[in-house]
Symmetry: C2
Subunit: 176 residues, 2 copies
C-alpha cells in the first residue's frame, strides 16, 4: 500500500491550485477518489468546478466543495469570512476522516491559518494524524514553518513573469 | 476573444507537468480543446495518459501524444533520443498550426532545447508566431532566457522538501 503524502504548494507564483488540480486529474486516471475543498474561493463557475460535475458521468469520484466567502476582505464582511473558514475546516476534518477519498485538496488553507481564522497548532496536529493512506494537498501563499515541517513534499511557486502586469486580463480556462 | 498565452513552468521542484495538467482540467471544464505532447516521457500508463482515454467518452478533446524515448540517457541510445525529439518537434509544429486545439502542452520541451536536440532560435521563433488565440504551455527545468523573454507567464517551481529524500518512493496517482 502507498503511504499517503502531505503535499504543500506555496509561494507567490501562479500554479499552486493548478498543480493540485493536475494531481486530481492524474489520480482520477488511476481511479483514485478525489475531493477538493476551497477555503477562500466562492464561485462555482470555475473550469474545475464545472469539470467536477461532468466527470461524474464517468463514475469517477471528484467531489468539489466551494466553501469560501470570496476575496472581498471588507471589514463588514470579515465576520462572515471567519465563520465560513471555521465551518470549512470542520467539514474538512470530517471528510479527511471519512475514508471516502484517496486524495483531498485543501485549496488555500494556508490563508485561514495565516489570518488566524483557525488555530494553527490544532490544524497541524490534526493533519499530522491524517489517515495513513490518504494523500493531502494544501495550497496557498505563506505556508508556515510548522506546516512545512509537517509536510512530505513542498514546492514553492515563484513568480518570474506575470501577464496581468502586461495588461492581459484573467482568462477563462486558464486562470479560472 | 481571449489572447492565447505562452506559459512556462520551470525550476527544479515538483509540480511543473502537474500544473500543466491542472490547466488541462480547468480548460476542459470550459470545453476548450486540449492537446498534450510529451517530449521525454515514453510511458503510456501514467494517470494523465489513462485519463485522456477515458475522457473521450464525455466528448472532450484531450489528445495525448507520448513521443519521448524515455529517461535512459545511455550514449548508445542517444541517437534515438535526438531523432525522437526532432520528430516530436515536427509533429508539435503541425499540431500548433492545426487550429484543432485551444490549449497545447509541450511537456519537457525545455530539455530538448537545453541539450541542443533542436535549434533554439528556430523553436523560439516558431513559438512567437503561434496562432493568436492558442494557449501554449511549456514545462521543464532550465528554461532559457530566450524562452522566458518570449513567454507571457513564467513560474519557477523550487524544491523546498522532497519525499524521495526521506526514502519514500514515487507513487501511482501522485508522481505518475
Amino acid at each position: 500500500m502507498n503511504k499517503g503524502l502531505l503535499i504543500v504548494y506555496t509561494g507567490n507564483g501562479k500554479g499552486k491550485t493548478t498543480a493540485a488540480l493536475g494531481l486530481a486529474l492524474r489520480a482520477m486516471g488511476h481511479d483514485l477518489r478525489v475531493c477538493v475543498i476551497q477555503f477562500i474561493k466562492s464561485n462555482n463557475d470555475t473550469g474545475e468546478s464545472l469539470f467536477s460535475e461532468e466527470i461524474k458521468r464517468l463514475n469517477k469520484l471528484f467531489d468539489f466543495y466551494v466553501l469560501g466567502a470570496g476575496f472581498t476582505w471588507s471589514s463588514a464582511k470579515l465576520k462572515n469570512h471567519v465563520q465560513a473558514a471555521r465551518d470549512a475546516w470542520e467539514i474538512s476534518k470530517e471528510l479527511i476522516l471519512s475514508e471516502k477519498y484517496d486524495l483531498i485538496i485543501l485549496d488555500e488553507l494556508t490563508y485561514i491559518i495565516r489570518y488566524k481564522m483557525v488555530n494553527e497548532d490544532e490544524v497541524i496536529n490534526f493533519l499530522s494524524k491524517k489517515p495513513e493512506n490518504l494523500h493531502l494537498v494544501i495550497t496557498g501563499r505563506y505556508a508556515s514553518e510548522l506546516l512545512i515541517n509537517a509536510a512530505d513534499l513542498v514546492t514553492e511557486m515563484t513568480e518570474i513573469k506575470h501577464p496581468f502586469k502586461n495588461g492581459i486580463r484573467a482568462q477563462q480556462g486558464i486562470d479560472f
